[in-house]
Symmetry: C3
Subunit: 473 residues, 3 copies
């Protein structure tokens, strides 16, 4: 409590040092790949003497990249603006840690699985992968939202990106797992990492900021901007780095159906769990997206629209039920304060997606996939195809991910607990005014003496701190 | 009035039943098409022994699909958030009925004109078509906005999607009509269907909710998000399912010019019809889009930028004049309560678009189109080309569409009139609190005893129902 | 002050006259190009007997166009909604002048460097170029925001678009300059043109509208929508009209890294220059974008990710420092009232980008670029390659741009000073109510007698003009 939240030295120092390190490492290690290098493009190509400029991978990956990019910056950013006084921080810190993470991820992912003669090669595919890794950090951000300083968030990103790259390397390169849309690598990892961090950072007196830990009318509409963009572009997300041709096309299609079915389940259960049958914005904003998470692994497989819709419906259902019944228990019993309910949107649906992926892999056969089998499963290409063992490796991948996430979150949580980052006091969580110049504040008054009606008005405080407000009546 | 608006059983039951039916029908009838199926892609292709994965239609249709998708979910959703207390419902119910409609449309459109050996084949083109059909339902939603329960909206969608598919089948398959951007199939159909529904559901006492049937400052800004996205992506909408090559390119270009000219007309007439020369947000939000509607049929033809701009200018003009002079008359004389003024945005501009399409078709000739004639007109491909009769068929298509829409809207309206859907009472139209958990409300007070100034404040009611507010002064 | 701001005749007359002129000129001069014309597409192509419809430039330029289009209409439009009472005008006038400018730019750019046998050929590339030119006008709009009538803005656009096309012709066609992302043609030109206009229109009594020249909580969130969209799509902007293949791919990549580094610099310096270490929304909304401006010329060159990050970091730094220390001086000493601080976002970063472009050009060599040299530098293609003189021409281009912008802004400023456009009086700048039907206003009250706390409430005035408000205490 006594710790100052003044960011004047801490934040600039950390940002500048990190960026200088990034610039030096990029200077030493990063090179244009064949499709972005003036000299290498259209030179020494093995598969064709002369290539048309139209065949540059830019034209086949960049539209997907832009959709993913929108999800990362607008989708995640605005989804978290639902809190009444935390809109600047939600979209602003999202912006900051995403801008850092995508640079750091380029290095870490390049280091673990993209080195060519000692250099990291970059192009549109590395951009997508870096954005994916960033997504994982932003998921974790959702768990600690409102309770952390920007310095803490950057430190969390340093560790989480690194571990993400290690886990991704184990899954994709060592275990040969399929996880194009990242049910495991992105969602499960990001969720359980974040949940463990917020567990370690448990605040027994968070009640003191309870009145700010909710939405107001227009903040919920801003959040819907995030929701809708995530929902619309999720087909692009899941298909962004599949193989070209039918796998990419099929992944987008499966995700589209999964999300549509998920949305109906979300509305159904949101009304059902409310005594008056009223819909809850929290469910619509979040659970309707679980269908995208849950086909993140199997989406590129022959899941069929039928299968996708079942998975989506299931994901929406467990997500709403999680928000209603599980989140309060997690907080009261396990001391996990999960601001955005990432366990319901990314955690459980991510695990569901991993399981669906394992089962769908185990059921894959040349009879169903034909020659397309090797466009989906790398094992089939190398001739070591064995669907049951593939399914097994997928299951192992889930276990590895859970282990890495929980362990990484534990260590990172303790690092973030050091009293040096300017974290907000318990009385000022979920409050933009701590880290931002806020010209107007919203304040709450009771209009009746029995305190049943609260009036919200916006104030321009003359002095930034401790301005007392005379109540209206 | 006595009818309960509690959705606790009705909405979940309907959603779950519908989704289960959808899943069963998808399981029985829907298959991946050649471009999304692992086995069929790159196998048994007639036109080429080996196809490059880059030639998958995904890469040539999916960017258009995503733009259309944004229009359906962000464009329509946010356009309707202009009402002061109906933002959750606007964007939320838009989300729900769109998620349902796109699934149901896939089946209905597949059934009427996409069956292959008893199966419906799906891919990116079916995704675009399903979104198109959904757009039609959302247009009708605009007419009944604020006056219907989500259950009513889903029931309306069931019928409207079905009839849309029938009408589309008659126009495109039987009459061989051109209507790539849907001036007839989407806009005219959706508008007159919705107008007839709202006519049947006429509420003589809607005045009781009059104070909520308007915007506040920030709700108008949210609505502009919808407007701008619709405006920007309309070139993608009109060109999304044209033939490849010059027709798609030309359609986007024509729509771009039509919209630009329309916008200048909208600003001009909005200022002109106001005694003080002030612009009206309602016009800017809506009429500026009429240019996209009005080139929905002729956009793929050799309309020329010159012709497109004339059509756009005309569309903007009639749309503003419609809002100013026709809508009040429709309500007072014909008892058509058109919340969003869809008659001005989709109805009249849709009919204009159909007429422009008929005329442009009748004027088409090999001299102007060269070999490109058959890339625009299917008749030319089959050798039965006769521009005058083509123009005639286009005109017949408009008549069929109007008939189908009015008849369908009439029947659907009476079905929706049954007192079983939990429709809002006349006193609580345009009110989110009926179907949503709303944490804060905006209330209006007079600050002067002569009631000239109204103060809007947000309240957090302690008890959800009937909380009386002590007035400020 | 005595001048009426009534737009009833002025705005409609100007809009209608301009659109009629545009339509006539389009009818006389504009034709479909080879890729949009039904007859010419797939006919008389030199490089190939039969072309696949997939090779239409639509598929390789249109996704970039759409991203640029979003930046122009959503990006610029919402970025300027930060003012508390000027949201309608920001997004609305942005819409109007952009819709006009893109038509006028098509003619002017076509006239100066796109005539084919006396006709202007249009297609997706002309659409991108027209949007680019429009961007320049919108930059200037930022300088005069809140202080001009829509008629003034349209008149400004007429002149600025014309001069933009002349300057672009001199730079690209006569000097052979590289400027794919428009550091010079768009940003430097738009910024210094706008700064000169606002200098000429200097209002010594602007203080009278001071209380409206700031943001409120939610207006800052709307502005962040603009910021984030500009940030995300800037890689598409800079790469939209480069040559195909590696240059386009590389430009997107360089811009992505420049922006990421810029964002960290922005957060760092925003906290550093604030006594309490608090972040300022103005910096985040604007300076974080300077990295995109600063690689607008060199982005297509072999700048490397390393170089891009250094440039981006520098751009963010000077932009924040400019907002903090230079803008107040410009206003007090040079009488330049720059509402949005375009000097910091477009002016200085644009000049930086021009310098970086000149240096990077001067360092280019066949050793680094290989055969790719001619895909970046037109000189190399024509065999007149001399990197030092190329660098020199780039530097001359900057000087020409500055001269054209300052001279053009001076003349245009004096034209705009004529008292015939209905400009807002000093007391009513930054106020939507002057030109828009505004149903509710926000008013400010003091809640304490010592006037330290100001309450903002929204009012619905019964009479539109001069409604006095009874203060709440």
């Amino acid at each position: 409590m006594a710790e100052s939240t003044n960011m004047r030295l801490r934040l600039p120092l950390l940002c500048i040092i990190l960026e200088v390190i990034l610039i030096i490492l990029f200077g030493a290690l990063v090179e244009y790949n064949d499709d972005t290098h003036a000299k290498l493009w259209n030179a020494n190509k093995s598969h064709s003497a002369t290539r048309d400029d139209y065949e540059n991978e830019f034209y086949y990956r960049y539209p997907s990249f832009q959709d993913v990019h929108v999800m990362i910056f607008v989708g995640f950013g605005f989804l978290m603006t639902f809190l009444q006084r935390y809109g600047f921080s939600s979209v602003g810190f999202n912006f900051l840690i995403a801008a850092f993470s995508l640079q750091w991820a380029t290095l870490m992912q390049g280091f673990f699985h993209g080195m060519h003669h000692g250099k990291i090669h970059v192009g549109v595919t590395s951009m997508i992968n870096a954005d994916f890794c960033t997504g994982s950090v932003l998921i974790s951000f959702g768990a600690v939202l409102g309770k952390t300083s920007p310095v803490q968030l950057l430190v969390m990103a340093i560790f989480e990106v690194t571990l993400f790259a290690v886990n991704e390397f184990i899954l994709l390169s060592m275990l040969g797992a399929n996880d194009a849309g990242g049910s495991m690598t992105i969602h499960t990892f990001g969720a359980y990492f974040g949940l463990m961090v917020t567990r370690v950072l448990y605040r027994p007196n968070l009640d003191k900021s309870k009145h700010r830990n909710s939405s107001v009318y227009h903040s919920d509409l801003f959040a819907m901007i995030g929701t809708i963009y995530l929902w619309m572009f999720w087909p692009s997300f899941n298909s962004a780095i599949t193989n070209y041709g039918d796998p990419q096309h099929r992944t987008a299609l499966n995700t589209y159906y999964s999300l549509a079915a998920c949305t109906l389940a979300t509305f159904a259960f949101s009304a059902l769990v409310n005594p008056e049958g009223k819909l809850d914005m929290v469910h619509i904003q979040n659970a309707a997206l679980a269908g995208g998470v849950a086909v993140g692994t199997a989406g590129e497989m022959m899941l069929t629209p039928f299968g996708s819709m079942i998975v989506g419906f299931l994901a929406g259902t467990i997500s709403v039920l999680g928000y209603k019944y599980l989140t309060p228990v997690l907080e009261s019993k396990l001391k996990i304060q999960d601001t955005c309910g990432i366990h319901n949107l990314h955690g459980m649906p991510g695990v569901l997606g991993a399981v669906v992926g394992a089962v769908t892999s185990a059921l894959a056969s040349p009879g169903v996939y034909g020659d397309g089998l090797q466009r989906v499963f790398a094992d089939a290409e190398t001739g070591k195809w064995n669907p049951q063992s593939r399914g097994g490796f997928q299951a192992i991948s889930l276990a590895v991910t859970l282990g890495m996430a929980l362990f990484g979150g534990l260590v990172t949580g303790f690092i973030l607990k050091l009293p040096i980052y300017g974290a907000p006091p318990d009385t000022h969580c979920f409050e933009d005014g701590l880290y931002w110049e806020v010209k107007t504040f919203q304040y709450h008054f009771y209009t009746q003496e029995n305190q049943t009606n609260m009036v919200t008005v916006e104030l321009t405080p003359a002095s930034a701190k401790g301005s007392k407000v005379q109540e209206i009546h």
